[in-house]
Amino acid sequence: MARVGVFICDCGVNIASTVDVPKVVEYAMTLQKVAIAKEYKYMCSDPGQNLILDTIKEYKLDRIVVSSCSPRMHELTFRICVNKGKINPYYFEMANIREQCSWVHQKDKEAATKKAMKLTEIAVAKVLRNEPLFPLYSPVIKRALVIGGGIAGIQASLDLGDAGHETVIVERESSIGGRMSQLDKTFPTLDCSQCILSPKMVAVAQNKNIKIYTYAEVEEVQGYVGNFTVKIRKKARYVDMVKCTGCGVCTQKCPAKTSSEFNEKTGDRKAIYTPFPQAVPNVPVIDKNNCIYFLKGKCKVCEKFCPSNAIIYNQEDEVVEEKFGAIVVATGIDIYDHSNYGEYGYGKYKNVLSGLQFERMVSSSGPTDGHILRPSDQEEPKDVVFIQCVGARDPSKGQDYCARVCCMWTAKQAILLKEHLPNSRAYIFYIDIRAFGKGYEEFVRRAQVDYQVTYLRGRVSRIYEKGKKLRVLGTDTLAGGQVEIDADMVILADAMVPKYDSVKVAQTLGIPYDTYRFFTELHPKLAPVETVTSGIFLAGACSGPKDIPDTVAQAGAAAAKVCALFSKDNIEIEPTIAQVNFSLCSGCETCKLVCPFNAIEMREREIRRGVKRSIANVIESVCRGCGTCVGSCYCKAIDLRGFRDKQIMAELEAVCIE
């Protein structure tokens, strides 16, 4: 004989100010098999949970319903609580009377109260059809995959490697290093980016627990937390990783030139190249699209000069399959395509540069050896205009968000300009200055006071060439007037945008992304590195614009989460998985066909004495509980624990029958 206890939460005023909770309690008491219904201010709090435990004892309850917030918030909290009260955690249901009732029907209290009653009734109807379920255990493979070898991936791998866990970095480019390696100096300390990054890159290469796959991409991810099977495509680099000593002769001798991606197209590279001198691994790749041999069938200069016979023209892509227990996604960002701002003339005027292009220009390893020169005529610029928020905080371009680093980045670039060319003048157009980090505000002040950078609060409407100069039309909203500056160079701050293929990556991994295509955290405040897919974690700017300190902190956090996962030999898997009723299964294999996880196998089974048939069988450790097989079964022979037909039908009846 089932005895249900119903607990209705006020959530302070969040529920109680809209829903008449005592009325819901009263209604719950009238429901079938409900032994007791109680109200409490905060059901999730310790006293709230104690109330549930005491009531379980007092009323000999065996099933519990809590009407409160979304189960996404506190289902686990209450399951644990119920379990403490010696009730199976699956004899528990939640009615979502906050997110899906009180918060969305604030204007109609009566309707909200009625709906809260109904939602409670639905939960009671379901819990009566629930069954006890017991967690399944699955072993944890203690190897981590880190996707992306920028500063986020590097930091996460180092932390994981140091903790003793085998870690694989998969990096798309031919070297690790990422965006940070393109930067000259870093704010607010102005230490050289490459100088603080290189030691970390070397440390990764030397760590015996870390394996690096560069020039490689993740193609397919199967499995679940603790047990992912990942296919990695190692693209052909046409150079033998083992034989190559990194002497660089091939690059020197290669006759084919093309513009360098690393230098943001401001300089050239060869067809066989490493993106930058400190590359890790220091093994070049042949860019097939620009190599004379691949295009025309002859040349082979690199092969001729290579002292170690490391060139392999007929190398092919290789796909390897490896097992991992956890995945850290650190795929980073792209830079906003400034040519969307036709009015700024990026791509049209040589002297309008992106922030990263300027960064390469200032860098002593860049195409101008660190000399700031106007691209049109290689003269030193006198007046340089910096524009912030290009591709950020601009709803007309669909980019509503703040790109978060540009204020600091621009201040830094203006300082670098003044340090390189003390007689130059720097102007910065800004909307607001957001200098929130440690030492940031002081840094901006230094730019303004010590370096005499002119800050103009307003947007630029238009840039056009006038003679050798760029005429910049803008407003200064503080002075209340229009501004015209004849500049030698204009630098457009680079808004961070998601990687161009972030959606494809998200779909490969099965993680959600937001309207801008950044990956979504499990919780923006309380679970910033987790995703809804357990075992997959986020690090760095792939989940939204971040500066280096935040990225490093997040990478460490992601590594710590992986370590916590790896501290167990087995992990619990939700028992809400599919189950076959052998006597009903006709063996049609439809379920096997539709299962996204290959969790169904056909197995010969004796269904009656002497009668054997091939029928479906669920591989419990592989099933993820989506229920697609259940929706497809013609014979109703397969059902989903926790979401059985009879449970959903009971809910449906509760909804429909007044």
Partner: protein, 134 residues
């Protein structure tokens, strides 16, 4: 039936649309209280029988909402649902149920505003159609 209020069943997948509906709440976007939500792990779990049964039991409208194509937490459960949806909506006419009472939508976890719009729209349409007469 002066005080008639439409009774609408909403089947939402756990990962996108249910989360989207939660976001609607977090952002305090109002929508009519006529819809009552049943959570499913995935729209792939949707059995066409649920739709038929819902109308049989007297629901005035049914909404099923899941992840956008390509974004399914289980890779492709929503695509199987999409195929079933096409069949079921045609079938409804044979049962004497106006297929315009049956709605499907894609709402992602970040589309809180869209969810409220969808519910408003569904509720309005059902109001226009009036109560389901047996």
């Amino acid at each position: 039936m002066n005080n008639w209020e439409p009774n609408i069943v909403g089947f939402l997948c756990n990962w996108c649309s249910y989360a989207g509906a939660d976001l609607t709440g977090l952002s305090r976007k109002e929508y009519p209280a006529n819809i009552k939500i049943i959570k499913l792990p995935c729209t792939g779990r949707m059995d066409p029988m649920f739709i038929i049964e819902a109308f049989k039991l007297g629901a005035d409208g049914v909404l099923v909402s899941g992840c956008h194509p390509g974004d399914c937490h289980y890779n492709k459960g929503n695509l199987y649902w999409q195929r079933r949806f096409l069949v079921v909506s045609e079938l409804l006419n044979n049962f004497g149920i106006d297929k315009n009472r049956f709605f499907a939508s894609w709402v992602s976890a970040s589309e809180g505003v869209k969810f409220s719009e969808v519910v408003k729209n569904v509720t309005e349409k059902i109001r226009e159609l009036g109560p389901l007469t047996k």
